[in-house]
C-alpha cells in the first residue's frame, strides 16, 4: 500500500449527513453524557496526515478512521538494477573481505571501479574477486556486476602467492582495463604489490583522486601529492570515491578460471595469542572498560583476562587511581575503534561517548537504565556490575570447560 493519504469523500459525506440511512451504521449513535448532553470525543476528531501531522477537517464532522486510510507498513525502496550484458571491458577489483564482510574501504574501491566503468558513456563491468568465505548479505548494492569467488579451504589461511597466481590467471583471461585494490594493511596493499611485481606493471599507490586520465596519489609517506597519468594497477586509499548507493547490480557468478596450485614457499602457522594489554588501545578490537560503577577492581581485571579483552577506563576511574592514565578512553584519552566495547559502570559523559563513537557494538553494564551509555548501547545489562560480570565469567568458564582450547602465549615487544 502506498504512503499517500487518500480521502474517502463518500464516507465523509455520510458522516456529515445525519439523515443518511448509513449514518448510524457507519458512525454509531451520537455519544451523550450523563446529563443527556451531546458530547464530542476530541480524540476522534481529525485524522493523521501524510507527514504524520494531525489534520482536522473543519468542513464537516469527519471522524478518525472514516475519513481516510493510511499505509502502516514502510515500503522498502527497490533500487534500479544496473545491467551490463555484454561489457566492452572489465575492471577488476580485489576486495579485502575483512572478517568475510565488505568494509568501507572495499565499498569505496568498488564505487571508484563503478565510476571508472561507466564514465563517458562507457559500458564496462566491475568484476569483484573474493577470496575465502563470504558472510556479506548486501553484495548486490555494493556495485559488483560480475563475481569470481575462490572458496576452497586453502583460502582460509594466508596464502598470498596462491592468490597472486590466481589473479594472474584472471588477468590473462579477462584482460581487464584496470585492476583496483584497496591500499590497506588488511591484505589489499600486499596482494596488489605482489601482482604488480608479477605483471611487471608500475602500480599507482595511495591513489585518492581520479581526474579523468590523471591520478592524484599520496607520496613521501603522506607528505606529498603526486599527479601522474593513469596506471593499470591502482592501489586506492579509503574515501577515494563515493560508494555505490543508487543502483543494484547483477553480481553474476563467473566461473573460476582454472586454478593452478603453485608451490607454497610461505606457510601460515596460524595466529599467535597476544597479551591483550600489550595492544595499543586505539587499535584494540575488544575493550572492557571500567568506570565509577566498578567497585571490585580485582574482579574487573580477572574478567578482562578471562575474556581476553584490552582494559580501558573512564576518566573518573583514572582520576581515582584505579587505572593508569594511558588506559583512559575519551576526549582527553584515546579514541578507540573496537569492534566490541563493554562499558562497566560508565554512565557515558559526552567526552567518553566521543571516544567510543567508532565502536561497532557497545555493551553497557550499569545499574541505571536511563543513563546515556544505555541509550547508545546495543545491549544493556541493568544491575550490579560485579554480579553481572561474575555471571558472565561463569558462562565463559562453563563454555571453556566444554571446549578446551590450546593457547600458545608469546611475549612480544
Amino acid at each position: 500500500m502506498s504512503d499517500i493519504f487518500r480521502r474517502d469523500p463518500r464516507t465523509q459525506w455520510i458522516a456529515r449527513n445525519r439523515l443518511h440511512p448509513l449514518h448510524v451504521a457507519n458512525i454509531g449513535e451520537p455519544e451523550r453524557g450523563p446529563s443527556g448532553l451531546l458530547r464530542k470525543n476530541l480524540h476522534n476528531i481529525g485524522f493523521i496526515g501524510a507527514n504524520g501531522v494531525k489534520r482536522i477537517d473543519r468542513s464537516g464532522d469527519s471522524k478518525g478512521g472514516l475519513s481516510g486510510r493510511k499505509a502502516t507498513t514502510a515500503v522498502e525502496i527497490v533500487l534500479p538494477l544496473h545491467q551490463i550484458d555484454k561489457p566492452d571491458f572489465y575492471i577488476l577489483v580485489v576486495v579485502d573481505l575483512v572478517s568475510a564482510r565488505l568494509n568501507n574501504h572495499d565499498r569505496d574501491t568498488l564505487g571508484l571501479a563503478h565510476h571508472m566503468a561507466n564514465s563517458n558513456n562507457a559500458k564496462g563491468a566491475v568484476v569483484a574477486v573474493l577470496f575465502g568465505e563470504v558472510k556479506e548479505d548486501k553484495l548486490d548494492t555494493a556495485g559488483i556486476d560480475r563475481l569470481i569467488h575462490f572458496d576452497t579451504s586453502a583460502y582460509q589461511s594466508y596464502n598470498p602467492e596462491q592468490r597472486c597466481a590466481d589473479l594472474c590467471n584472471i588477468v590473462n583471461e579477462l584482460q581487464p582495463k584496470h585492476i583496483l585494490l584497496p591500499d590497506s594493511i588488511n591484505g589489499g596493499g600486499d596482494l596488489g604489490r605482489r601482482l604488480a611485481a608479477k605483471l611487471d606493471q608500475r602500480p599507482a599507490c595511495g591513489v585518492w583522486k581520479v581526474n579523468g586520465e590523471q591520478l592524484v596519489c599520496r607520496g613521501g609517506a603522506g607528505k606529498t601529492d603526486i599527479t601522474r597519468p593513469m596506471a593499470k594497477i591502482l592501489l586506492v586509499l579509503e574515501e577515494c570515491s563515493e560508494p555505490v548507493s543508487e543502483t543494484r547490480h547483477q553480481s553474476l557468478l563467473m566461473p573460476v578460471v582454472s586454478s593452478v596450485t603453485v608451490k607454497q614457499r610461505i606457510l601460515d602457522l596460524g595466529n599467535m595469542s597476544v597479551d591483550p594489554n600489550a595492544i595499543n588501545l586505539a587499535e584494540a578490537g575488544f575493550i572492557l572498560s571500567g568506570g565509577n560503577g566498578v567497585k571490585d577492581w580485582p574482579e574487573f581485571h580477572l574478567a578482562a583476562k578471562i575474556l581476553g579483552a584490552t582494559e580501558g577506563a573512564s576518566r573518573v576511574a583514572v582520576d581515582d587511581g584505579f587505572m593508569p592514565r594511558d588506559r583512559q578512553v575519551g576526549a582527553s584519552g584515546t579514541w578507540v575503534t573496537a569492534r566490541v566495547y563493554i562499558a562497566v559502570g560508565i554512565s557515558g559523559a559526552i567526552q567518553h561517548m566521543q571516544g567510543i563513537a567508532q565502536c561497532d557494538k557497545v555493551v553497557a553494564i550499569n545499574n541505571n537504565d536511563s543513563c546515556d551509555m544505555v541509550k547508545r548501547a546495543d545491549l544493556s545489562a541493568i544491575g550490579d556490575s560485579s554480579e553481572i560480570l561474575g555471571e558472565l565469567l561463569n558462562v565463559v568458564r562453563q563454555h571453556a570447560a566444554e571446549k578446551p582450547v590450546n593457547h600458545v602465549v608469546i611475549n612480544h615487544g
Binding site: N51, G52, S99, Y158, I185, N186, R193, R194, A196, A197, R202, G206, W208, R218, G219, G220, A221, K223, T224, D225, I226, T227, R228, E239, E242, R265, I266, L267, G270, N271, M272, V274, A278, I279, G285, F286, L307, G308, V340, K361, V363, I365, D369, V374, K375, R376, D378, L379, S380, A381, I382, G383, E387, I388, E391, V395, H399, I410, H412, G413
Partner: protein, 264 residues
Amino acid sequence: MIFDPSLNIVTLVSIGEHPLSGRPRRAEQDARALELGLKLVADNLQVLYIGQAKSPATVSVLKDYLGMGLGQIQVLDVPPQADISNTLLENFKANCPDIILTGGRAENGESSGMIPYLLAEQLNIPIVTSITDIVSIDMLTGLAEVLQALPRGQRRKIKVSLPFVASVDMAAPAPRQSAYGCAMRGQLVVKDFNQSIDDVGQRHWQVNSAQMRPKRLKIVKAKTAADRFKAATAKIQGGSGKVIYDSKESAQEIFKLLRDEEML
C-alpha cells in the same frame, strides 16, 4: 640470540625525513630492520645504501646508522634520477644473500613500497611483509619462522623458505640509539655504480606538498521535506538497544554477542 654466523643477511637502509620538520633522519622502519639484523647476526650484518653518496644529508644520516654499532655501510653512488630497484637487482644477481631486510616504504620520493616486491620477483625468492621478528632459522631444512604484524595488534606465525626478502613493520622492536663514538669509528665504503638506468616513468609526474583531503559529508538522500528535516535534527535514538534486567539472562546475552562477534 645470534644465529649461525655463516648466515648472510643484508639490510637496506634509506634516508628518512621527519614528517613535520622535514629534516633528514634515520628512516624509522629501516632502523627497525637494522635492529632486527643486528639482533640476528650482530657484526656479520651487511648494510647497503643506494643513493647520492656525496650529499651532506646522506652522510649525516648514514653516520646515524653507523652509530648503531656497525663497522661499515656499503654505499652505491647513483645519480638522483636513477631507478634504484634496477641497481639493487644488478647488485644482488651475482650473490643473493640469505635474508634481505628492508623497511615497508620509503619516507620520501614515490614511497610506493615496491622495492622488496620487485627484488623478490626478480630474484625469484619469497617475500614476507610487515614482520616484527625472526623467531628461528633452520639452516639444514632452509626454513625460517617469522612473526608477522596484523591489524589490531595481532601476530601471525609464518614459515618461509630461505632465501627470502622481509619488510619490517613499525611494530618491530624500536631501534637502539645512535652513539656518536660508533658513528665516528664506522666507515662508509662508497662504490660508483655507472650502469644505473634512469627512472623514466617519473618524468611526467608533478609533485606538490600534500593537500588536505576533503572530509566526506553525510549525504542525505531524502525525497520529502519531512525526511530532510528528520535527518537534519535527528539525535541519537534512545532505546534502540536491548535492555535486560536479569543478571543471568544478561550474562547469556553478552556471551552470545561475544560469540557472534568472534571475540572469544
